[in-house]
Symmetry: C2
Subunit: 315 residues, 2 copies
C-alpha cells in the first residue's frame, strides 16, 4: 500500500522538499541548493538523489511511495513540459518525463504560483472552501483561481494573473509587463516601496521613512502600523488598488474566499482592513459576504500544493 | 423513448416557447403574452396550457417529452425558487416546483442571462468552444461565464456581472446599482445614448445626431457607421470601457472566446473592432489569442439555453 509522497518546490535558489504521509501530514522537510549551471541540467538529478537518500535513510521501499509532486517557476504545458523557466535555465524542458524516467516514480508537475495556491487551499488559509482566489503580494503580484477544488489556469495560461489588471491607465511609469498602471505597480512589495518613495519625495507629510536604497516593504508596513503618515498612505493606495481589483474578480467568478499571501501579507489584519475598505463599496452587495483570509503556510505552501496535486492526479 | 423537449423563456412582456427535438433542433416556436396581474400567479398556468395545447395539436404523448427548461429574469436559488423577479411580480416563488406539479413533467429553471449564454454556447456564437464569456449589451450590460460547458453563477450569484466592473471611479453620475463608473454606464444601449448626448451637448464636433428624447443606440451606431464624429467617439468610449473590462476578465479566467450579444451587438464588426482595439494592448500577450464572436441566436437564445439546461440535467 502507498503510504508516502514527496512534494518538491523548485525555486531559483533552493529546492524545498517535503516527505508527506498520503493523509497529508508533512513528516519531514529539508532543502537542497538549486544548481542552475549547465542550463539547469543537473537540478532534477539532485532532487532524485535527495529523495532516494531520504528513502534509504528512513528505509522506505519504493512500493510504499505514491510519487513526486513538483513545482517550478514559469509556464508549464499540459504535457509536463516547462516551456520557459528563466531562473532555472530551462526552456522546453520535459521535467515531468525526466524525473519520472530517472526515479521510476509517478511525477506530476505544476507552476509554482498554482502549487502555493493549492497548498493554501488544502491545508492553509483556504481550508474548507471550494472556490478560492489566491493573491500573492511578493516581488510581483501573483494569483491563482481554484474552482470546485481545481486550479483553473485558463485556456492560454493567464487565468489568475490579476497582478496585471489595469488600475490606473494614466500611470506614466511602465510595469514590468510593459503595460501601464497594473495592480502589481501598487500592491507588490516593490510597488509599495515605489509608492512610498514617491510620497517621501513629495514631502507632503512628516515621516520616519527615508528614501534610502535599502527602503523595504517591511519598513513601510512597520511605519504604517506605527501611524506614520507616509506608511499609512502607501498602505491606503495598496488597499484601494487591490480592493478594486478583487471586486472585479468577484464580478467575474465570485469565489467564497480570497486568500492573501506573500511577504506583504505579513502585515496581517491592517492589510486586510485596507483592502476590505475599498472592496466592500466596490462590489455588488451579494459579493460583500466573500471572506478574506491570510495565507498561513508561508514557504511551505508550494510543497503542500505539490503533494495535493499528486494526490489529485492519483485518485 | 423521449423525443421532444420544451424551452420556455419568460420575459416581462411575452413568453417565448420552443418545441425542440432531443437532438437540439428547434421544430417550432411561438409566443404568448406574460400576464403579470395577481403577482404573476397565472403565468405558469398559461405556459402549461400552451405546452399541452401544442402536444395535443401535434399528437405528442407525454411519455415522448423529456420535460421543460424554463428561464426567468431575476435571482434564482439552487432549489428552483425565484427569489425575486420584479418584472413578473414573483418573490420567493417556487416556479420549478409549481410548473412540475401542474404538468407532471420534469422542469429545470435558470436565470435568463445564463440561459441566453447557454443557448449561444450550444448553438450560437460560442458553438464548439468549452470556456466562454458572454456579454450582453442591452438596456444594461449582462454577462455569464461558462467553464467546461457549465454555467458558473458563483458562490453568491454574481459571477459574470461584468457590467458592474468599475471603469471610471471618478464618474459623477451614479450607475443603476448605486456605484459610479460601472462598465454598464458606457457600454449598454442606455450608456451609449448617455455618452452621445454628453458629446452633442459639448458641441466639440459636427454631428448629424440631435439630442432628442428619442435618441437611440441604434441611431448612434448608424451614425458611427457613416463616419459621424459623435457616433464614432461614443463607440470609441464603449470599445475602450469594454476592451479594458474584458482584458481583466481574461486575466481572471482566461476563456477561449467572448461572445457579444444584445441590441448594441447588431452593430457587428465595427463594434468588435472597437473593443479589440483596446483589449489587445491591455491583456497579457498570451490572452491576445482569445477569440471574439457575435451572438447569432437573437431572441431565441434563451429558449435554446433552456433546452440545453434540460438536456444537461437529464444526462
Amino acid at each position: 500500500m502507498k503510504k508516502y509522497g514527496f512534494g518538491v518546490d523548485i525555486g531559483g535558489t533552493t529546492c524545498k522538499l517535503g516527505l508527506f504521509s498520503v493523509e497529508g501530514e508533512l513528516l519531514e522537510k529539508w532543502e537542497i541548493p538549486t544548481v542552475t549551471e549547465n542550463g539547469g541540467a543537473d537540478i532534477l538529478e539532485h532532487v532524485a538523489a535527495a529523495i532516494e537518500g531520504k528513502m534509504a535513510q528512513r528505509a522506505i521501499p519504493p512500493e510504499r511511495v505514491l510519487g513526486i509532486g513538483l513545482d517550478t517557476p514559469g509556464v508549464i504545458e499540459q504535457n509536463g513540459v516547462v516551456k520557459q523557466a528563466a531562473n532555472l535555465g530551462w526552456r522546453d524542458y520535459p521535467a515531468e518525463q525526466v524525473l519520472a524516467g530517472r526515479t521510476g516514480m509517478k511525477v506530476c508537475i505544476c507552476n509554482d504560483a498554482n502549487a502555493a495556491a493549492l497548498g493554501e487551499f488544502w491545508k492553509g488559509g483556504g481550508m474548507g472552501y471550494s472556490d478560492m482566489v489566491m493573491v500573492t503580494l511578493g516581488t510581483g503580484v501573483g494569483g491563482a483561481v481554484i474552482l470546485d477544488g481545481r486550479i483553473r489556469s485558463g485556456v492560454h495560461g493567464i487565468a489568475g494573473e490579476i497582478g496585471h489588471i489595469t488600475i490606473h491607465p494614466e500611470e506614466t511609469v511602465p510595469c514590468g509587463c510593459g503595460k501601464h498602471g497594473c495592480l502589481e505597480q501598487y500592491a507588490s512589495a516593490t510597488g509599495l516601496v515605489r509608492v512610498a518613495r514617491k510620497l517621501i519625495q513629495k514631502q507632503e507629510a512628516q515621516t520616519t521613512l527615508k528614501d534610502t536604497p535599502e527602503l523595504s516593504a517591511k519598513q513601510v508596513l512597520a511605519a504604517a502600523k506605527q501611524g506614520d503618515a507616509v506608511g499609512l498612505k502607501a498602505l491606503e493606495i495598496l488597499g484601494k488598488a487591490l480592493g478594486f481589483s478583487l471586486a472585479a474578480v468577484s464580478q467575474v467568478i465570485d469565489p467564497e474566499v480570497f486568500v492573501i499571501g506573500g511577504g506583504v501579507s505579513k502585515a496581517g489584519e491592517i492589510l486586510l482592513a485596507a483592502v476590505k475598505k475599498y472592496y466592500i463599496p466596490e462590489v455588488l452587495p451579494a459579493g460583500r459576504a466573500t471572506e478574506f483570509a491570510l495565507a498561513v503556510l508561508g514557504n511551505d505552501a508550494g510543497m503542500y500544493g505539490c503533494m495535493k496535486l499528486l494526490l489529485d492526479k492519483t485518485e
